[in-house]
Subunit: 298 residues, 2 copies
């Protein structure tokens, strides 16, 4: 479905599809919970590149997974991504005022609502995955839940975020920074790509290839993010820039320098694309996403 599109139309199509699905999933209740659901919609809808949802549907396309089912897993993945952004932006965490080109959730609503909306988005992710509308085989549903929970918890994103907090007080070396980023952003990107393999019951061989692609892409993506933080323009990225240097955090750029960091990202992307050998044209979208990951707006 999406695999036949080139990158720009695919990004547009997934953006529209994700917003439509969130709109259906989050009807506004006629009671005081209204404010919570409005906050969830504010955070989840109408913004973001939808990179992780696109990775889910692109990997699902490799194995001919039903489009609506793929979109449910894409929504669940985006729920976890969005909840992490909402909580990371809180005053006690990164204290950011702008996200996806608009005020952060705690600025537009309030801190308590932001904490709750993040919590509720995480719960919603698992509710969506465990529902039989996502896959007829309960074994697949349970495996999706297990892998997404690992990507979100102490051995995934939350663990990486903790390392990031500690990084403000000490200077990490390159292996520790790599580990931090593999947890903080790599784990969820890894889930997005593995989701297609789980839903499509891919062979062990194909899973290994996709895991290789995910590992390299995740790291390249983070290096590109670090480069954006140094070279970017907040008007175009839609969020604050030059935060890392201000916080004294080690990044790939501070450890490697701009030029070596850029070379490293390009090398990783070549390597990521190399893992897709054997998938033929059905992996063209995954290849395009990999190239896009290091060519985003500066």
């Amino acid at each position: 479905m999406y695999a036949s599109l080139s990158l720009k139309p695919a990004l547009d199509a997934i953006g529209t599809a994700i917003d439509q699905r969130f709109d259906k999933l989050l009807p506004i209740p006629a009671d005081p919970r209204r404010r919570l659901v409005e906050a969830m919609r504010y955070a989840a809808m109408g913004g973001g590149k939808r990179m992780r949802p696109l990775l889910v549907v692109a990997s699902c396309d490799l194995f001919h997974v039903d489009k609506e089912r793929a979109l449910r897993t894409a929504i669940a993945t985006e729920c976890v991504h969005v909840y992490s952004l909402v909580h990371d932006d809180l005053p006690c965490m990164d204290d950011d005022d702008t996200r996806r080109g608009k005020p952060t959730l705690h600025k537009a609503f309030d801190e308590a609502t932001a904490v709750l909306a993040g919590d509720a988005l995480q719960a919603l992710a698992f509710e969506v995955l465990a529902d039989e509308a996502t896959h007829e085989d309960p074994y697949v549903r349970a495996e999706l839940v297990l892998e997404l929970a690992r990507a979100s918890g102490p051995t995934g994103m939350a663990g990486g975020q903790m390392m990031d907090l500690v990084a403000e007080g000490e200077t990490f070396d390159l292996p520790t920074t790599t580990r931090l980023q593999q947890l903080k952003t790599g784990a969820l990107i890894g889930f997005a790509i593995e989701a297609g393999a789980i839903m499509g019951k891919a062979s062990a061989d194909n899973r290994v290839k996709l895991r290789g692609y995910a590992r390299d892409l995740g790291l390249a993506f983070q290096i590109a993010d670090d480069l954006l933080d140094v070279e970017g323009d907040s008007g175009r990225t839609g969020k604050a820039v030059r935060k890392d240097a201000g916080a004294g955090k080690a990044t790939f750029v501070s450890l490697l320098g701009i030029e070596r960091a850029r070379k490293q990202a390009e090398m990783l992307i070549d390597q990521a694309i190399g893992h897709l050998h054997g998938f033929g044209q059905s992996a063209d979208l995954l290849r395009a996403i990999a190239r896009f990951a290091i060519e985003r707006d500066r």
Copy 2:
């Protein structure tokens, strides 16, 4: 296993069992994630009445569910309960300094760690449930995840907590207060009790009975909590008291008065126990829990 115990030994046994399982589930990593896991252990271990875990194992006992599997679901339920306490205690929410007789997590650590530890505990709950160690049948695992996610999200605990925040600005009537409490505390208590029916593949008839028990118990439990807030002693409850009146919130006690609230709780407990008719001696522990719910330390 637990059903043959009377209440006090059952509470002691579940307390020990839950701490042992958390200790195994949360090994302290030898990297900067250490602080996150220490915070999760601080919040989850060595305190609390473990009422929800006891409800899980007591309902599992009705259907002869394997003890270790029942304990995994009990741990998942407690993870969700503990994450909600950690987030509710945050300065931007209820701003509490004491919980389970010790400093709240954000006081003992810091706010950012408390946000992350809560997030990670929620993820851990679903990771535990989706693992095949919890049940050999993936359909059961997926159903447990679905129901716990509903109990935690906007149609459950998070929705109730949002109503509670709104309640500080307006005065709710009795039906709205009842709805608030059914979401805020009733949903998770309902999951704890339904867990046995899901794991034991109970008949539709038995599920209806347990749902009735859960609904009445949850409400009685909350009325008892409101009474404790008015009449309690923080040295014995281990948390702040007389917060509701200070915040101007409607509670069952402010709406009904102390005497009618107490009568209502007693009536609900009789009704809850009535739903257990037909389960015989195997439900004695559930009966004892119901009586205990309104006889806690004042």
